[in-house]
């Protein structure tokens, strides 16, 4: 607060007069540097976990460059100018989900993917971040107080896309998307009465939902309770990844020296399970480094968010921050075996173009909300 300029002086101008072009371009140097740090770290780990595939690393690098360009571009826009686009992007996500249900990409057992030939992606991965932004945009579309019906409308919108994802079928992602939709609604001030009625409804319909879950979805949930039941099924993944992290110990086995990862014992080691490669090769020390950088990023995001000028900016930043934290938490908990296996990448680290670009886009929104004098 101490850096804040006095109100009676020029409100939106920093006191310091020295012009820093770098600071002008990246808007927030600490956040930008920590993002670069974590993205580089991710590329290094991807090189190790992909079986030292330069092709995969280069591809990821191109996505990162593209994502950074988008981030920088968005960060220089005024939130007011793209608020409407964000609000209507909900329909884009909705249509993509309908599309994959009707027209699933070949070669996949579930209808999750859109295959553009040169590039295939999961719409649900985009929706994780687009949904909360569009809901925030919707709730803040007017200056006036949020209407009572808006709470139900936004809840319904979140439920609708979650259901479509559930139909793919992908229970884990469906829950995550729903949660990321509910976070901004809650932050925006969802009345306690409505929360109570929601909880009541959930309690009433949950037995019915359970009986309608597919066998493999039940299996996945049950696997979590005892990963020794099915050593070659889902539990195998968890056991192997625990083994990797555990055997890494405090200092790790050394970069490129992880036997579990280099000999392919860790499934999906370059995407969802990349955290176990970090644990095996760099040990608790590497994990601690990662967590410190993540924490710093989050601290910065929340600081920007809570200090932002408009309701939209505050809600968007805080929601994105929480969703970012939630993804890290879910991915790490899954990899160490606290929760069942769900398809959530480790943000900014796991291989995957969509995930990187969408996350950097979100950071663009956050940076654009930054008060210049902060």
């Amino acid at each position: 607060m101490s850096k804040r300029t006095p109100l009676d002086y020029s409100i939106n101008k920093p006191l310091s007069t020295d012009y820093n072009p770098f600071r002008y371009v990246v808007k927030d140097i600490p956040l930008f540097i920590s993002l670069i740090l974590i993205l580089s770290f991710g590329l290094l780990m991807l090189y190790s976990s992909s079986g030292q595939s330069l092709a995969m690393v280069s591809r990821q690098f191109i996505y990162i460059l593209g994502g950074l360009a988008i981030m920088t571009f968005v960060s220089h826009l005024k939130p007011e100018s793209y608020k409407n686009i964000l609000m209507h992007s909900y329909w884009l996500g909705f249509l993509m989900l309908i599309y994959v249900l009707i027209n699933p990409a070949e070669g996949y057992s579930t209808s999750r993917w859109i295959d553009l030939g040169f590039f295939s992606f999961q719409p649900s991965e985009i929706l994780r971040l687009i949904l909360p932004l569009s809901l925030v945009a919707y709730l803040c579309r007017k200056e006036s107080k949020i209407k009572f019906s808006d709470w139900f409308l936004t809840t319904f919108a979140a439920l609708l896309v979650s259901y479509l994802i559930f139909e793919q079928p992908d229970l884990g992602t469906s829950l995550i998307v729903f949660t990321s939709g509910m976070i901004p609604i809650f932050l925006a001030g969802l009345p306690l009465r409505i929360i109570a009625s929601y909880l009541l409804i959930i309690a009433l319909i949950s037995p019915y939902v359970w009986s309608n879950l597919l066998e493999y979805q039940k299996q996945r949930i049950l696997t979590y309770f005892d990963s020794n039941v099915d050593p070659l099924g889902d539990g195998w993944n968890i056991a192997q990844s625990q083994t990797a992290i555990g055997s890494g110990g405090f200092f790790g086995k050394g970069y490129l020296q992880g036997t579990q990862s280099q000999l392919n014992f860790i499934p999906e080691s370059h995407s969802d399970f990349i955290f176990s490669v970090i644990g095996e090769e760099l040990g608790l020390l590497g994990i601690a480094f990662l967590f410190v950088v993540y924490s710093f990023i989050l601290w910065r995001v929340f600081k920007i968010g809570l200090m932002a000028q408009s309701t939209f900016e505050r809600l968007a930043c805080c929601s994105l921050g929480f969703i970012f934290l939630l993804f890290i938490l879910i991915n790490v908990s899954m990899v160490v075996g606290i929760i069942p296996v769900v398809g959530v990448p480790l943000p900014l680290i796991s291989q995957g173009g969509t995930s990187i670009v969408v996350h950097l886009l979100a950071f663009g929104v956050i940076l654009s909300s930054k008060r210049p004098q902060l």
Partner: protein
Amino acid sequence: MKNLQDLRKEEMEIKSLKGRFRVILYPLLVLCLIGSFKIVQLTVLQQDSFEAESDKNRIVEIPIYPARGLFKLEDGTVIAENIVTQELLIKRSLLGISKLQIDLLKEKVFEETRKINLPNKNGNPEEFILLAGRLTEKEIARYELQKDSLPNVVIRAKLRRYLPHGNLFSHVIGHLGPVDKEDRVIFSDRQYSYDAYVGKVGLERAYEQELKGVSGKRVVEVDVFGNQVREIERISPKRPSDITVTLNLKLQQLAKEELNGRRGAVVALDPNTGKVKALVSSPDYNPNSLNQSELANSLSKEDLEDAPFFNRAISGSYPPASTLKPFIGLLGLEAEVIQEDTIIEDKGFFQLKEDGRKYRGWKEDGHGKVNLKKAIVESSDVYFYQLSSQLTIDRISDFLSMFGFGEITGIDLVTESKSILPNRNWKLGTMGETWFVGDTINIGIGQGYITSTPLQLAVSISALANKGKTYKPVLAVRNNFNPENYFEVFLREVQHWDVIEESMISVIESWNGTAHNLYSEDSISIAGKTGTAQIKSLMDQELTVSEEYEDVRQNIRDRDHALFASYGPIPEPNLVVVVIVENGESGSAVAAPIAKKLIEEYQNEKKNEQTNPS
């Protein structure tokens, strides 16, 4: 410029946001703590167990088996070796779905010349099982042509046991077979792969541990697909030492030749060392076909009736018949029941005083006045009926046990039989009857309950040849071989040995000897005793022995066994030979010539050895 109301509203909003912010943040922080705790637990507290787990994942030990030890004769001739054969295998799990491929294999690769025995479907599904062994070059060529149509059938080279002499050493060396549960228990300190072959009988079984050697191992790192990434460590296997077999190739060949496929056995051993020089059981079999190193026609039903796998030389129990007479005579002298010149009147039968029952000799009219020497030379039954009736079973049994009857000799083969040396307790135990004098009388001529294996008889005879001293019979020897003492019989009067030996020499040399047909003036001197073992007892008192036997002869399997037990040359015997020809009828005509040829051949061998000491 915002007005005051707006500022107030914003302040309220931010306050509410901060409250709700904490409602989400704090639970998430608690979850972060739980996750961090779990990570610390994995990496710090459980590191050791996970490290072990991770090593178990990637490190695989692959045993390296040494080639099986060889069998050689003392002159260096290899009689059991290992050869490389090409084999066709199939994974057990694929067996059920590969019927078309197996049909194709039969038709195109083997051109219907081979039968493929479909192996058992039960077992480890990952195991490769043998479809056809020892492929010929043509079969390999045809397989290569058809390879693409036979994706489930794989070809593999393997070391297999091969006996260059085929059947000749079958009952000595024995054969190998797939390792089974029992083998794994017996040889538990040796590692066997699932498809290992292990010695099943013969020396292969007795020396399994030595022949197998100590396996080494390769420690390799594998990836999740089981591909070997690199070798971490290699421990070379210990090559097993070769085993020297005491047999003499010429004698073995001669004995097999002379038996000529008839059912019977020949055992020849050196009484001065216990080394077995020939051990033949006939009929025999080809161990190579069981070792999967040679293709052989399967045995017919008739072949199997003759029990080719039965080692008659060590497991066959035969009545020793008249070859027992020298031992009974020796006991008579020792027990002072008879003197060398005690004369018994042989009228063709012996009558028991107790019940008046008649025991007939083999010669209708009897041998007249008979002393011990004549009784052995002419093989008078009546003499030994009378002698044994006076000796009692207790003395006979005790005396014969001193010569190793009723006990295994301890030769290094696994299926040796003890045979039967009966006494009162034995009869009471096995038959539930008390001992009769009649039983003793039968034993006096080596009939009745008493049985003996050819090997056992050979060892007992070697006691006669050595004047009491015997050595344990052996087939396999080490470099620093020392004969192992077996038993030694001490007589009250040492010259009794000579009395028996003289009688046994006269069996051949005396004009009235039962084996006088062996005699020729210029040949070496041999001591021996013929025997004719009755299979079917002659019960009919009305008919003469020869008349009754005419009836018995009708069935070949009821005919008498021909036996000959001998040693030579006198005075320094170096070979004891026992020959048994089942249903051969005449010890002198059938069995004795074989024994003499062996002893003579052995002398030639010895002479050659001395002139060419290479």
